[in-house]
Amino acid sequence: MQDPRYYQIAVLTGLLVYGIVALDFEVVPLQAVASVGGVLVVQWLFSRWKGAPWEWRSALISGLSLCLLCRTRDIGWCLAGATIAVSSKFLIRLGGKHLFNPTNLALIVLLLVSDGSVWVSPGQWGSVAFFALLLACVGGLVVMRAGRWDVALGFLFCWALLLLGRSWWVHEPLTIPLHRLQNGALLLFTFFMISDPKTTPDSRAGRFLFAALVAIGGWWWQFLQYGTNGPLWALAALSPFVPLIDRILPGPAYSWPKFTPTSTPSIA
């Protein structure tokens, strides 16, 4: 089977170009170079240090995802994001797996420490680009058929249920939850972040449980605490519980097809 990461790299690169050209994303080329170059360099350094083979694909995916989600005017924060993302794969590990999705952790750390200099713009995709994005993401599911489609669909199902349920509860018309679901940032999160096979639970039951917990946490943050980017915060907050879920609901660990998994690759 083909390595699904090539498809992801192609989709993320396409999205980045589309975002900059058509959607007026505030990503200057230098920032893109800093994020992508940064992850590759840090990955290379860690590979040398750990004596692991040079693995660029997962690092590139992390770099592209950072470009798509992280907004800043300061190149320094792009480099910091790249460093945090890749180092977390090598340094924060439990039971042979890295704990956090690299991009997710980098974003949350930057949001916490940058004093406002880094932000994530969940509305910037708009709903016009939504269907094209949906198509690309569903395409990704097909390519990843051996991957973690269950966690993506599980999350989306729970998230949709929570949004619909809340709108019903507060007497909002259907157009409101539908508008909230037609969100490009939500699709990116679903298909390129929470579905990371290396940081999700090993068993299918575990993954469904994890997806549901992230959906509930994100919903609580966004609709009861009135915060932004609920799913991002929930994923980072709940990732440390993955080893516990794996202990309760064990399953075989994931490894990338046709690939030696010594370098702990990741999606996003």
């Binding site: 007026d24 907004r71 800043t72 509305g123 910037q124 708009g126 709903s127």
Partner: protein, 447 residues
């Protein structure tokens, strides 16, 4: 009972007949530097048919919301209903002077700047919700409270400020609230029931204002001043749903956000920069209002009417070119910017306060949910700035001047025409004809 002629909304509507197209050609300061460009005209909020203006000051969890209201009808027919997240106390409400909002409008409006080409021999041009009122609802308070209670409506607060009588209401059911408000003389439009019910379900309160005619008469004013309301809530949003209930078409909303950290953006709609820093034909000076309206309509069309537009973002410590006098600290404090240092400064310090002017054209179909915001750390300045370059008016008697008249100028004119056509969807041939007919004041002098 007065007839309903507007929607239940936190904002006002302006009658079409009262619209005055902007007069573009204003006085030009003769000593201004040509390099920075002269500020000559602006496209302020008076351009739009159905427009509202709000000032949103946000500091941590504290929001101060000022609603500008140039309601032109009979003041006894005026009433305002806004959903608010908490009970509003008397000290949380203030009446502002309208001039402050007009000043903010002028300061942040998209502007037209002009340059004059120099002699080509020396150097080429530089690159550079309303419901009408019936019987007096503020009579016999005890009886009213009982009547309200029977309908599940609690009058949480009741007080007066300036020319307004104000109430904060909590309700159990939208039907009860609507029945009570209608009994009190407000006419709440059909279709508002669901929207009001959803605010009640989210435990929101209702801030209701009407004009106290006696006090207004004492003050001798004929217009209504803006109301400022303050509250502490994690919710950082602007309720627009009530305003779309009865609206006949799209409405314009201009938001002036004053923040400590940086630019404001919406988290549930796309926030887009308007095209800016473009060279347009000098004749547009005489129809700058029309130009801006057409360009905005085109931008809305391109975004399928589902985006919020940024018209201006700047550190309030400086501006370039300034389209009005700076906003002094005293005016900013009145709007709720209470973190400013210094009492009598003509403008805030750099880095103290940022202003984002957002412009939304919305209706129920394209903007189904209320606007939600976040403050970003972005400090990249942006202003709607359109440039016209007047040709040099000498004779083509040297090689450089011949090149200027025969090549540089025609090429530039065509580029300007193309830009204008692309931005406004105006017919290119009409543009070219107007370009050919236009003579700048200096050209007229020479003729």
């Amino acid at each position: 009972m007065a007839q309903v002629h507007s929607h239940l909304n936190s904002f006002h509507r302006m009658k079409t007949s009262l619209l005055l197209p902007i007069v573009a050609a204003l006085a030009i300061a003769s000593d201004a530097s040509a390099f920075c460009g002269f500020y000559v005209a602006k496209a302020d909020s008076k351009l739009y048919n159905e427009s509202s203006q709000v000032v949103l000051v946000r500091d941590g969890k504290r929001t101060q919301l000022t609603m500008a209201n140039d309601y032109q009808g009979d003041p006894k027919e005026f009433a305002l209903v806004i959903p608010v997240p908490t009970v509003i106390e008397r000290d949380d409400v203030d009446v502002m002077e309208k001039a402050i909002i007009d000043h903010l409008d002028a300061y942040t409006a998209p502007r037209l700047v002009e340059y004059w080409d120099s002699d080509p021999e020396q150097r080429l041009y530089p690159a550079a919700a309303m419901a009408p009122m019936g019987p007096d609802p503020f009579s016999a308070p005890a009886k009213r409270r009982e009547g309200a209670k029977a309908l599940g409506v609690t009058i949480k607060r009741e007080f007066s400020k300036g020319e307004y009588d104000l109430m904060v209401l909590a309700a159990e059911q939208s039907n009860g609230l609507i029945t009570w408000l209608n009994g009190e003389g407000y006419q709440i439009p059909e279709g508002a029931t669901d929207v009001i019910q959803s605010y009640i379900a989210q435990d929101m309160k209702f801030f209701v204002a009407k004009v106290n005619l006696e006090r207004q008469a004492k003050q001798g004013r004929t217009w209504l001043r803006p109301l400022r309301v303050s509250f502490n809530s994690k919710k950082f949003m602007l309720p627009i749903r009530l305003g779309t209930v009865n609206a006949k078409g799209p409405q314009d909303l201009i938001i002036y956000a004053l923040t400590r950290q940086g630019r404001l953006e919406s988290t549930n709609y796309r926030t887009v920069r308007l095209p800016t820093n473009l060279d347009i034909p000098p004749y547009v000076k005489n129809e700058f209002g029309d130009f801006y309206r057409a360009m905005f309509a085109r931008a809305v069309e391109i975004e399928k009417m589902s985006s919020v537009f940024i018209e201006y973002f700047w550190d309030m410590g400086w501006c370039d070119p300034c389209s009005s006098d700076p906003i002094p600290n005293i005016e900013l404090r009145a709007l709720g910017v209470d973190w400013l240092k210094g009492e009598n400064e003509q403008r805030p310090q750099e880095g103290e306060v940022y202003i984002t002017r957002l412009h939304v054209r919305y209706d129920r179909e394209h903007f189904p949910e209320d606007l939600v915001f976040q403050e970003t750390g972005d400090h990249e300045n942006l202003q709607g700035r359109y440039v016209m370059r007047h040709p040099w008016t000498g004779k083509a008697d040297t090689e450089a001047r011949k090149t200027y008249f025969n090549e540089t100028l025609p090429k530039r004119r065509e580029e300007e025409a193309q830009t204008l056509a692309r931005m406004t969807n105006w017919d290119i041939d009409t543009i070219r004809a107007k370009q050919a007919a236009y003579r700048s004041p200096k050209q007229k002098e020479g003729e």
